[in-house]
């Protein structure tokens, strides 16, 4: 049973990391959208992500479904506890989905400008709010005996969570800029590199601040693994800069992928074995052991994952091959 619970923690980790890496680049592209020149540049931005974004968002759907299936109380507590924030995320996701598909359907500057704005806001808002949620999970939530969050909306907007939120935003901004550098050429590529370089400083600095803050206040469950992963994250983040300065965009992009994965694994390690930490009473925390589904469900789900995920990864790779190259 314990093995299955740990496997499911890892599988959901993979799904959410997969989502962050994949949708991260198109969210990141969206963060830069309003900085691009109107017209052709912005069209190219969208062209670079058009074939991929919907597949990328399916990682979120699947991750959400898997969390629901494997750790129902966690899904229930987090989603109801972060109610308003999640509604804003949904708002953002809806607007960006539709703006990607609809922006180029009508050649009216006002139409295009409205969807450009929706796309940018719809990308920035989720990028920020996902990480604010992560910050609150690390910091801990006030829970009652049923596991319901009792802290209220404004308690979620605390300084620590906001710093973590900015880490997430800058992480995706770097990631998206690097993706653009890979996918575009000429002047736009140079500007994408410059954006990546600028936002990298914010990302690196914010990560260090958040890591130090976490180390001093929120390392409740062991030190070794979080520290190892944090050091690995710093290395990956440094590598982004190394490759990026040499103009090796693809390598820098992969370093950024590794950075996202390692930062998120570090978060998991900080929390482990908790998924939701009760700040008022540790015994109310939801852990992978007390909040999982039954042995049978976890087993069935594992079969589903083992049958399905290799094929899914197959499609993802295939689609990127079909649409490879610069736009």
């Amino acid at each position: 049973m314990v093995t299955l619970q740990i496997i499911w923690l890892l599988l959901i980790g993979i799904l959410i990391i997969g989502y962050a890496i994949l949708d991260g680049f198109d969210l990141g592209v969206g963060c830069w959208h309003l900085f691009a020149k109107k017209g052709r540049e912005r069209t190219l931005f969208l062209r670079s992500i058009e074939p991929f974004w919907d597949g990328n968002e399916v990682w979120l759907l699947t991750g959400g479904g898997a969390l629901f299936a494997a750790f129902p109380p966690v899904y229930a507590t987090v989603f109801s506890g972060f109610y308003l924030a999640l509604m804003l995320v949904l708002l953002g996701l809806i607007f960006r989905a539709v703006s990607i598909e609809y922006r180029n359907k009508v050649e009216d500057p006002r139409w295009v400008a409205a969807w450009d704005f929706a796309f940018a806001i719809g990308s920035i808002l989720p990028s920020l709010l996902y990480a604010v949620a992560v910050g609150n999970l690390v910091r801990g939530l006030q829970l009652n005996a049923i596991g319901d969050y009792t802290g209220g909306f404004f308690a979620l907007l605390n300084p620590y969570a906001l710093v973590v939120g900015l880490v997430g935003l800058s992480m995706f901004a770097v990631h998206g800029a690097l993706y653009l550098a890979v996918k575009t050429g000429g002047e736009l590529q140079l500007r994408a590199r410059a954006w990546a370089a600028q936002s990298w400083w914010a990302y690196a600095a914010l990560f260090l601040v958040a890591a130090a803050w976490t180390a001093c206040c929120y390392l409740r469950n062991g030190v070794a693994l979080p520290v190892v992963l944090a050091v690995a994250s710093v290395t990956a983040i440094a590598l982004i800069r190394v490759f990026s300065r040499k103009g090796e965009d693809l390598k820098a992009f992969f370093a950024s992928c590794a950075g996202i994965a390692l930062v998120m694994l570090a978060v998991v390690a900080v929390l482990f074995p908790n998924l939701v930490t009760a700040s008022n009473d540790p015994s109310l925390s939801l852990t992978i052991f007390n909040a999982s589904s039954s042995f049978r469900t976890l087993g069935v789900m594992l079969v589903i994952a083992l049958l399905g995920m290799p094929v899914v990864i197959g499609y993802t790779v295939y689609i990127h091959r079909v649409f490879k190259g610069k736009v």
Binding site: L60, A69, A70, L90, L93, V98, F153, V311, Y315, V322
Partner: protein
């Protein structure tokens, strides 16, 4: 305001809006596959033109379907936390399976269908259209599995204050899964095929893109006829299953109060919940007993057999069910008319038929919606039939004010999206297909 009531309103609003789009995707998806297959076989460029035009209409729809679908998946957790804790051991798996087995397939190959025509071979392109249709159809399977488990839960036992899985297959193929799945898929095919018929008729009425529209119209008349017959057949078996597994729901469908045999099927009536009878009832005697058990002696439970607190809201369920049946009847007549005209080679010339078809465009959507209302309101007061009441299922952590705020937010966004979707469909229809000889971008 009452938080339970608000949560229900929000769910109804978001699912009702979402449910406009996936059925169209499924139905159009199979039409696209049909066109691609014909093109591959006959090399007739008209089929390519049809495929391209309808692919663009499909893409407009898919985006809204995906975006509003994420809302649905989040909403069990955001608004129905107690429900999620109670059923998560069973209910989450089909949602995850939908993503893994179906939705990745659909969205990946849709990218090829929309953006990749020039990047892959003819055969791969054809296969992509098949995989998109299969993906959409499989998606619906897992969603119907989850919803059917709420209607007729199976394969579980109650331990630790929650429903835990005892048999995955019993839960997946619970008594209502297959009848409901066939009915839902057939309903989606009705939406897709009648949409093609209606839009083509609209073009013909406006005398725009006439050659194309005529082919398009003719291509969809037979599929529309098949689909509407399929939905009625599947609907019959579904109703028989409801009679067995959810008798209170069937009684509410039919406004049937007194248990007994020789039960009529009502064409019209107004259920009167206070007086426990159906006023102005008018129908075919013995018919319901016949439909359920092939004999007038079939006994059918009436609403009075159920304690008042266990009865669904009867008027809504009754109206939902009956309007679905009426709409189905109209669609059947329209498709018969279309087939007759097709046989007489006058389908594209009969203005009255074209007008009727164009005006019918919204009706299959409406039929799906009211059918869904009948199915879900008929399940009340239970969120999981006979296991958990809807009022016990909501998120205690979410104050009513926040739900109200999100309802306002969703209403605004969804109205906007709906308007934009209609506008873009209209533009696409006005613009029409690309000329035959033009190559893909």
């Amino acid at each position: 305001m009452d938080a339970v009531w608000l949560a229900r309103l929000q769910f109804a609003l978001t699912v009702g809006f979402h449910y406009l789009f996936p059925p169209l995707s499924i139905g159009l998806g199979w039409m696209l596959f049909f066109y691609q297959t014909r093109f591959l076989r006959t090399k007739d460029a008209v089929y390519q033109q049809l495929a391209r035009f309808w692919t663009r209409m499909f893409a407009l729809t898919f985006a809204v379907g995906l975006a509003t679908g994420i809302t649905m998946e989040f909403q069990f957790g955001t608004n129905w936390a107690a429900y999620s804790r109670f059923v998560g051991d069973i209910f989450g798996a089909p949602l995850a399976a939908e993503g893994v087995f179906a939705f990745f397939l659909e969205s990946s190959f849709l990218a090829i269908l929309i953006y990749g025509e020039s990047r892959v071979s003819r055969k791969v392109y054809w296969a992509s259209s098949l995989l998109v249709a299969v993906g959409a159809t499989l998606s619906a399977f897992w969603i119907v599995v989850a919803n059917s488990w709420q209607q007729t839960p199976a394969g579980f036992h109650l331990v630790n204050g929650r429903a835990e899985l005892t048999s995955f297959w019993a839960a997946v193929f619970n008594p209502s899964t297959l009848p409901r799945y066939f009915h839902v898929i057939a309903g989606a095919l009705v939406v897709g095929t009648f949409f093609v018929v209606g839009v083509s008729a609209l073009m013909l009425l406006k005398k725009r893109h006439v050659v194309f529209a005529e082919r398009s119209l003719k291509s969809a008349l037979l599929p529309a006829f098949l689909a509407i017959n399929l939905v009625m057949g599947a609907g019959h078996f579904h109703a028989v299953q409801v009679a067995k597994t959810q008798p209170a729901k069937l009684a509410a469908f039919e406004g049937h109060w007194e248990t007994g045999t020789h039960v009529p099927m009502l064409l019209f009536g107004i259920p009167n919940e206070k007086e426990e009878r159906t006023d102005f009832a008018f129908g075919q005697k013995n018919m319901l007993s016949y439909m359920v058990g092939f004999s007038a002696d079939t006994r059918i439970q009436g609403l009075k057999d159920f304690p008042k607190q266990d009865r669904p809201p009867i008027l809504t369920t009754f109206i939902g069910f009956h309007s679905m049946v009426y709409l189905g009847g109209w669609l059947w007549m329209l498709s018969m008319w279309g087939l007759y005209l097709l046989w007489r080679k006058k389908a594209a010339q009969n203005r009255l038929f074209l007008l009727a078809s164009a005006l019918t465009i919204p009706l299959p959507f409406l039929a799906n919606e009211v059918g869904w209302v009948a199915a879900e309101v008929g399940r009340q007061p239970w969120v999981v039939y006979n296991l958990m009441r809807t009022r016990d299922a909501v998120s205690a952590a979410v104050p009513a004010g926040q739900i109200l705020a999100s309802i306002v937010l969703f209403s605004l966004i969804y109205s906007l999206l709906f308007g934009v979707w209609l506008y873009l469909l209209k533009r696409q229809i006005d613009k029409g297909p690309q000329p035959l000889n033009e190559e893909a971008r």
